[in-house]
């Protein structure tokens, strides 16, 4: 089964980076990526339905327009079952606290450590499948 991961970041090169970092997982069909360059676009995509179905959302916080925290709030209301991992800036204690308060499943710190992220994704997969 292929798991859909929606990555929300205003930097377009993030798509290329994720594709290359997860190239092994992509090749063997474990995961599939969807990308959105704004929170608004992410909500649109989720509403229109993505294939494969979105299993995990990974979102930046500081974006033009709607912020990652606003997106998180909307997602918690719309689809409380989808895990959301927020990407926070180094040392930004205030946003980390707020993200956890709103209901982020987990946090990763920029610059993203992909080894850590992969572990995190795997543990969420394991938990969801066990449930």
């Amino acid at each position: 089964m292929t798991l859909g991961i929606l990555v929300v970041d205003d930097e377009p090169d993030v798509a290329e980076l994720f594709k290359q970092r997860f190239r092994a997982e992509l090749r063997n069909g474990q995961v599939a990526f969807h990308f959105a360059t704004s929170a608004e676009q992410a909500l649109e995509s989720l509403a229109s339905g993505l294939t494969p179905e979105t299993f995990l959302v990974l979102s930046d916080i500081n974006m033009p327009g709607m912020s990652g925290l606003d997106l998180l709030q909307r997602l918690r209301a719309q689809s409380p079952d989808v895990p959301v991992i927020m990407v926070t800036a180094y040392g930004d204690i205030e946003n980390r606290r707020r993200a956890l308060d709103i209901g982020a499943t987990d946090l990763v710190t920029k610059p993203v450590d992909f080894v850590e992220l992969k572990k995190m994704v795997n543990s969420i997969i394991a938990q969801t499948q066990a449930a």
């Binding site: 980076l17 290359q20 800036a89 040392g91 930004d92 920029k110 610059p111 993203v112």
Partner: protein, 578 residues
């Protein structure tokens, strides 16, 4: 205010004591009673005014005094709040002295020439005698005042001369007249008062030398030998032409003394009381000095504020740049890493190329691949270096999230020292230095952010070790022994931490820039130039302290951190947000 001279009109303020033979004998009882009253007035006019007081309080006053001073009745004087209300301002000091001496039991036998306010606030000269008395079981001052009467030496003088005497007595300045032989010809009441000479001390014709000797014996001229001092004074007083001098006299007043020659070879010496002017001058000078000190302090503070502002805006700029660089740099590092991985995978996929390439081409391909791998490694290394710079820069705007807490300063200093020493020894096992620790136990605890101050201290120690190592490697004599001195000092409302090394020191040009961001004396790649800049931010902006530096090249460098005991808790960077 005028000084009333009264030597020629002693009866002016008295009821008429004697109406001459024109008064017919009384023919009624009322007439006889009036006659008796007139006789009483006559007696009163020759009885001295009497005033008894202790401290400033007037205890008793007789009718004679009330009459002398022009009051209706003694009660009008008894209601005065203080005996000094009768005394003009410029005589208060001298009168207080005289009263105090009298109260302590010292009996002075000669007369003092003094002036007093009359009821209508005119000034009048009197002759005064003071005597200690017992009043209600406690000592008090009995003050007797009498009309000024001409000295016996003057009585024979012609009427013209007496009028001249009245005129100079009315002058507000002290006047002394000398004839061509240097004999005293006349002086006025103000002169007697200023110099505290009893009236009658120097009758007309007294040689000037006698007056000078009197002054000397009284101690006016200090300890000098009389002959020397008197000769000098005499020379001054008899010099032709105007002569000015400034003196403090026994009445506690400062005088401006001027001598002016007379056409007949005599001399007029005037004594002007300039005490008030001197006092005002002193006050003005003090005020000026105070204002100048304040101005200097203000300028210092302003200078400090300018430096702080500069540092703050530089820090702000630094943080802004760092923030903007962070994301692109992240991509560079990630893609550099990935490119390395992809290259490895590509080579694996291609498999051994031996079969497809000629030996030359294979060598060239291997060479290219090695260069490519090397380049990727370089990109990754330099990317990491840039990343660590960016992280330090960001630390300027964001604290490590440390909490303000009461911290044992001496323990914190020692801990940071151990930390920095371990780090430097890990790099260079041969490095050694002597430590001098002077921890003031009175410091106790201080409310600070320990993580941030520790960062500052580790940074200072690391710099000090660098300077010590540097001097050690440059030293050719072998007589150099590196020493690091760490002192903590309690200054009540603040504390000081001093870090002094006898390393290579810094020239003035370096000291000036030492706190500026990106300024470093280390070779490229070894220092970010942000250590002291960040430390400055922590000490000055976050902890409201001071950061001072002094150094002599090839001798020492000393950094002093001053932290206030009562600092308002503030997060690093918080000031900028506002």
């Amino acid at each position: 205010m005028t000084v009333v001279s009264n030597d020629d009109d002693t009866g002016r303020d008295q009821p008429v004591a004697e109406e001459g033979p024109a008064t017919p004998p009384p023919d009624t009882v009322k007439g006889t009673l009036d006659s008796a009253r007139r006789y009483r007035d006559q007696v009163l006019s020759v009885i001295p005014g009497l005033l008894i007081h202790r401290g400033d309080h007037i205890l008793h006053c007789n009718e004679g005094l009330a009459r002398l001073l022009g009051y209706e009745a003694p009660d009008d004087i008894l209601v005065l709040p203080s005996v000094l209300d009768l005394v003009p301002e410029d005589a208060v000091y001298a009168e207080r002295q005289a009263y105090a001496r009298c109260l302590s039991g010292v009996i002075r036998h000669d007369v003092r020439r003094i002036k007093r306010f009359r009821a209508n606030h005119d000034l009048q000269w009197f002759d005064q005698l003071l005597e200690p008395v017992d009043w209600g079981g406690q000592p008090a001052v009995m003050e007797m005042l009498a009309q000024v009467r001409p000295h016996t030496g003057f009585i024979e003088l012609p009427h013209q001369w007496q009028r001249l005497q009245a005129a100079i007595d009315a002058m507000p300045n002290g006047v002394l007249m000398l004839d061509s032989e240097g004999r005293m010809e006349g002086l006025n009441s103000e002169m007697l008062r200023l110099w505290d000479y009893p009236p009658g001390l120097f009758p007309p014709g007294t040689p000037m030398d006698v007056m000078l000797h009197y002054n000397h014996e009284r101690g006016d001229y200090g300890d000098g030998t009389p002959s020397e001092k008197i000769a000098m004074m005499r020379a001054q007083l008899t010099r032709k032409g105007a002569h000015n001098a400034e003196r403090r006299v026994p009445s506690g007043r400062v005088l401006d003394i001027r001598t002016a020659p007379r056409a007949d070879g005599g001399m007029v010496v005037t004594h002007m009381d300039i005490t008030d002017r001197k006092r005002i001058e002193d006050e003005l000078r003090e005020a000026k000095e105070h204002a100048e000190t304040l101005l200097r302090e203000l300028q210092d503070t302003q200078q400090q504020l300018i430096v702080q502002e500069k540092m703050a805006s530089l820090g702000q700029l630094t943080a802004g740049i760092a923030h903007e660089l962070k994301n692109p740099l992240n991509f560079v590092n990630n893609f550099a890493d990935l490119s390395g991985e992809l290259l490895d995978e590509l080579l694996e996929l291609l498999g051994p190329m031996d079969a497809r390439l000629s030996a030359d081409a294979r060598a060239e391909a291997d060479d290219l691949i090695d260069s490519l791998k090397g380049n990727l490694l370089k990109i990754a290394n330099h990317g990491r270096r840039a990343d660590s710079i960016v992280k330090s820069m960001l630390a300027h705007s964001r604290g490590g999230g440390g909490e303000w807490q009461e911290t044992d300063v001496n323990a914190l200093v020692d801990e940071a020292l151990a930390l920095a020493y371990h780090a430097v020894r890990a790099q260079d096992r041969d490095f050694n230095t002597a430590f001098v620790r002077r921890y003031d136990p009175a410091i106790g605890t201080l409310k600070i952010v320990p993580q941030d101050i520790s960062r500052v201290l580790v940074n200072l120690f690391t710099n000090a070790f660098y300077a010590l190592r540097k001097r050690q490697t440059l030293d050719s004599t072998g007589g150099y022994s590196p020493t690091l001195t760490i002192a903590t000092i309690d200054r009540n409302d603040r504390i000081e931490i001093r870090v002094r090394d006898n390393g290579i020191g810094m020239p003035q040009t370096v000291i000036e820039k030492v706190f500026a961001p990106f300024f470093t004396t280390k070779p490229t790649g070894e220092g970010t130039g942000l250590g002291l800049s960040l430390s400055y931010d922590i000490v000055v902006h976050q902890h409201r302290g001071r950061f001072d530096v002094s150094s002599v090249e090839n001798d020492h460098a000393e950094f002093t951190i001053t932290l206030p005991r009562a600092a308002t808790a503030m997060a690093l960077g918080e000031r900028r947000k506002t």
